[in-house]
């Protein structure tokens, strides 16, 4: 028997259309400017190789989007957008704190995505039928 134990259960919150998606609200802080933080939603996306946040969120915490390594983020359609990598701190009241290098998009995106780089920092399981996901905040 294979048994996995998780510390926390999170129901998928509703969006404006009454649909439900796996999402968490984090406090995002620029470690180079700890006085500037914002609370943001981020969607769990196991299909995303790396995390990507809207560039405006980065600017809101004092990140210069003209600096940082540039990456191209390619979607399933083959189209891509550019993002600049910057290290940020993501804090969650239940899950704790995560230091993560995330991309900040050069063009507007609708959803901040937490990709496999974040999933690499936790144990996570999805139960789509129950519209819930489960997290243990350690790899």
């Amino acid at each position: 028997m294979l048994t996995v134990r998780y510390d926390h259960e999170f129901p998928y919150p509703y969006d404006l259309n009454g649909e439900r998606f796996p999402r968490l609200t984090f406090r995002l802080t620029n470690p180079e400017n700890p006085g500037q933080s914002v609370d943001v939603d981020a969607y769990l996306d196991s299909g995303a190789q790396r995390s990507l946040f809207d560039g405006g969120i980065g600017r809101a915490v004092g990140i210069d989007l003209l600096t940082g390594d540039q990456k191209q983020y390619e979607s399933a359609t083959g189209s891509s957008i550019a993002g600049r990598l910057h290290r940020v701190r993501l804090e969650h009241p239940d899950l704790g704190s995560f230091d993560l290098e995330v991309g900040f998009s050069s063009s507007r995106i609708k959803r901040n995505l937490l990709g496999r780089d974040f999933l690499n920092l936790v144990q996570i399981g999805f139960r789509e039928r129950r519209l819930a996901f489960y997290v243990t905040p350690e790899p």
Binding site: G18, R27, D39, D45, L121, L131
Partner: protein, 168 residues
């Protein structure tokens, strides 16, 4: 009797090298794709479909309503939650207080008001819609001038009924 919980991954070592992996040089192009996760409308949820039918109906209905209430409020729950891959038995020891629960509840209860700001970013503090517009950085700056040290900013994403959401 046992099944695999999606997303857990059974490959050895999947989660075992956190620091080594995060320090490795990433490829020049990061792929963003589908998470394999689809939305499900409230109307399609059937309490009898999420539990074995042998459970007493009223108890089931009560549990379902509790789950809906938690979901719509955005609350996470529990420490020491045990998810057996075989069964639906899960033990919740406590309800955890997640961030921005008041705002998440407000969002749930004010869909019509939010629809007026579809396609915009919004700063919400408690039950006050502080600012809205196309640039989250400008909204956050405005919120800070109003004394909100850490603003909560989110995008109001409204889709047509025939639109399916992907990761990016």
């Amino acid at each position: 009797m046992l099944g695999k919980v999606p997303g857990i991954g059974s490959a050895p070592g999947l989660f075992e090298t956190r620091r080594e992996r995060t320090s490795a040089s990433p490829p020049a192009t990061a792929r963003l794709g589908l998470s394999g996760i689809s939305g499900q409308s409230l109307a399609t949820l059937d309490p009898l479909a999420i539990e074995p039918v042998s459970i007493e109906r009223e108890l089931l209905r009560a549990r379902f309503q509790q789950a809906l209430s938690r979901a719509s409020s955005g609350l996470g729950s529990g420490t020491g939650l045990s998810v057996g891959l075989a069964s639906t038995a899960a033990t919740r020891n406590a309800t955890a207080a997640s961030r921005r629960t008041r705002e998440l509840a407000w969002r749930r209860d004010h869909l019509e008001l939010l629809r007026a700001h579809a396609g915009q970013w919004v700063v919400l503090e408690s039950d006050q819609l502080v600012a809205h517009g196309p640039d989250p950085a400008a909204l956050v700056a405005e919120a800070r001038t109003r004394g909100i040290r850490v603003p909560y900013v989110f995008f109001v994403d409204a889709r047509a009924d025939d639109v399916v959401s992907l990761g990016l």
